[in-house]
């Protein structure tokens, strides 16, 4: 199993969620994060103080899936999260060795 972790623009969440359910993935976990990268931030001014804000609000979406559908998941996320503008985000995939559903104790594939 793998976890597909995607950093996306906040307003894209609903579309990504729909794309995933579209391919049969019905569970995911979302975290509010701040991202730093090529996309340039903005300047904020509070009286005399000017700040260049480089950390932009993003969402981190984590989905645990069977290894065989990772490609489909990546495609789905990419398709839904893409705007073509700088800051669309990244997808990272890493392996997991165990998965457990706390409620039932089911493990691995059954737990996803």
């Amino acid at each position: 199993m793998k976890i597909v972790m995607a950093i996306i623009k906040p307003f894209k969440l609903e579309e990504v969620r729909d794309a995933l359910t579209g391919i049969g993935v019905h569970g995911l976990t979302v975290t509010e994060v701040k991202g730093y990268g090529r996309q340039k931030g903005h300047t904020e001014i509070y009286r005399g103080a000017e700040y260049a804000v480089n950390f932009l609000p993003k969402l981190k979406v984590e989905v645990a899936v069977p290894s065989d559908i990772v490609k489909k998941v990546i495609a789905a996320v990419t398709g839904a999260a893409k705007t073509g503008q700088i800051g669309d985000g990244k997808i990272f995939v890493y392996p997991i060795e165990h998965a457990v559903r706390i409620r039932t104790g089911e493990t691995d594939a059954d737990a996803l």
């Binding site: 307003f11 904020e44 001014i45 509070y46």
Partner: protein, 479 residues
């Protein structure tokens, strides 16, 4: 023309006078410090009901990325209105001239000294005119601020900065003049007394004088429409202007698709309660003295509001299954709106009924009707203020009836409460509603278009996405 004159002041001035034990001195009206104290207080109450009151009521309902832009727009409307008002707004509104607009004789407040007396609704009772000037300034300010609720979260600040002064000048001042400008009680009382006193020879001349005094008033005032504290001038006016704005500016990106929950109902609650708080100045202050119908308006502003808050809440509980806080406070505002024109005229029980109706009607409108039509009046300025204002304006025509516990309408030409006639009164009320809807609806539409051409109404999509706080103002509300 008729020599009857229907007046906004609900309570017989003589009662007021005796209550207040203010003798009408020969050398003109006197000023009682109790009235001055009350009117200064009432004025600051109306200010606080707008900033921060209305600003928070609105701000809590938007997404946090647009919080500052909402607060800022309301503040701007207030500050700009105050300046325009003392420069020429007061003069255009409260001096004679035509039936539709006044003149510039009091521009820059010229001729108004600290001790200049301003008329009230009681013969022989005055307050410092400067206090009246600022009391009315706060009315213009909140009206301008109210309409913004329908176009927040997507309209550029520069557009609003331009729209506000135009709208006040071409929409608010004329309507306020039409509804509220008149010669005042002392002028009419004097002319009427002169007519009585006049011998056969002088009768004709005296009659002309009286007719002139009566003719020196706004169009809707003369039509006999009664609006104690601004149902037409403030609420129907801003409500329709808001709807037109919502239609012309268009829906917010993602409206109907994305979640757009209020970012802080706590702020909305604070705002609503400050609106209630300040509205006592708005309604009871509109009597211009601490007596008579001030007390009537005061109690009605309590009971109608409580009734409307509960009626919306229970309606929602029954229809949607849960009583929401947003529903309850929306009902509060609906009740305040509806009771505004009626506050000095209706009896307490009549006000309760009015509140109960307003709460249910506005609930139905903001949920069912709005969704059916599908426009994006972001904060329901139309559904609450325009609809509630119409309920109030028509309700006033009914509840003023002494048979229903109302105060009746005082006739200065005969120095007592006039006969109540349902048809006459309702005709006048409907006229006021229709004229206001048309003038403000059409006028606002034209002004939005002009602003759109000059600076553009709508923010860029990516700016709207990211939020107006950062893009229009370079700040974030919370860190």
């Amino acid at each position: 023309m008729t020599n009857k004159i229907w007046l906004r002041a609900g309570l017989p001035a003589l009662i007021a006078a005796t209550i207040a034990a203010v003798p009408a001195l020969a050398e003109g009206p006197t000023i009682d410090k109790g009235d001055t104290a009350w009117m200064i207080t009432a004025t600051v109450l109306v200010l606080v009901m707008t900033v921060p009151g209305l600003a928070l009521f609105y701000g809590g309902l938007v997404r946090s990325k647009n919080m500052l832009s909402t607060l800022m727009q309301v503040f701007y409307a207030v500050a700009m209105t105050v300046l325009i008002w003392v420069i020429y707004g007061y003069s255009l509104t409260f001096t004679g001239g035509s039936d539709f607009i006044g003149g510039f004789s009091k521009a820059f407040l010229s001729g108004i000294a600290p001790d200049s007396p301003g008329g009230t609704f009681s013969v022989g009772v005055a307050i410092p005119e400067l206090v009246f000037v600022m009391f009315q300034a706060t009315f213009a300010a909140i009206t301008a601020a109210l309409l913004l609720g329908s176009i927040v979260e997507r309209t550029k600040f520069s557009a609003i900065a331009l729209f506000i002064p135009l709208w006040l000048t071409f929409v608010y001042f004329p309507i306020a003049h039409m509804v509220w400008y008149w010669a005042g009680p002392d002028a009419i009382d004097a002319a009427a007394k002169a007519l009585e006193a006049a011998d056969a020879a002088g009768k004709a001349a005296a009659q002309t004088k009286l007719d002139e005094a009566l003719a020196d008033a706004g169009y809707l005032f003369k039509a006999g429409a009664i609006d104690f504290a601004g149902g037409t001038v403030v609420h129907i006016n801003s409500g329709i202007a808001g709807l037109v704005g919502a239609l012309l500016v268009g829906k917010r990106l993602g409206y109907g698709k994305e979640l757009m929950p209020p970012h802080s109902l706590t702020m909305t609650y604070i705002g609503a309660m400050l609106l209630w708080f300040g509205w006592f100045g708005f309604n009871a202050g509109s009597n211009l003295e601490a007596a008579g119908s001030a007390v009537v308006a005061f109690i009605n502003t309590f009971v109608a509001t409580a009734a409307a808050g509960l009626s919306w809440m229970f309606a929602e509980w029954i229809v949607k299954g849960k009583p929401s806080l947003l529903g309850a406070v929306s009902g509060v505002v609906a009740g305040l709106v509806a009771v505004t024109p009626a506050s000095g005229f209706a009896g307490a029980m009549g006000a309760i009924v009015l509140g109960l109706i307003a709460g249910v009607v506005c609930f139905f409108f903001c949920t069912t009707v709005k969704n059916a039509i599908g426009y994006d009046d972001a904060l329901d300025v139309f559904g609450v203020h325009c609809i509630g204002g119409i309920v109030g304006a028509l309700g006033t025509g009914i509840l003023v009836n002494p048979m229903l516990g109302g105060t009746g309408v005082f006739d200065y030409t005969i120095a007592k409460v006039g006969e109540y006639s349902f048809s006459t009164q309702m005709t006048a009320q409907v006229t006021a509603v229709v004229v206001t809807l048309l003038w403000s609806g059409i006028g606002s539409a034209i002004l939005y278009k002009i602003v759109d051409i000059l600076v553009g109404l709508r923010a860029k999509p990516e700016e709207e996405r990211e939020g107006l706080d950062i893009n229009d103002h370079g700040e974030r509300a919370y860190s």
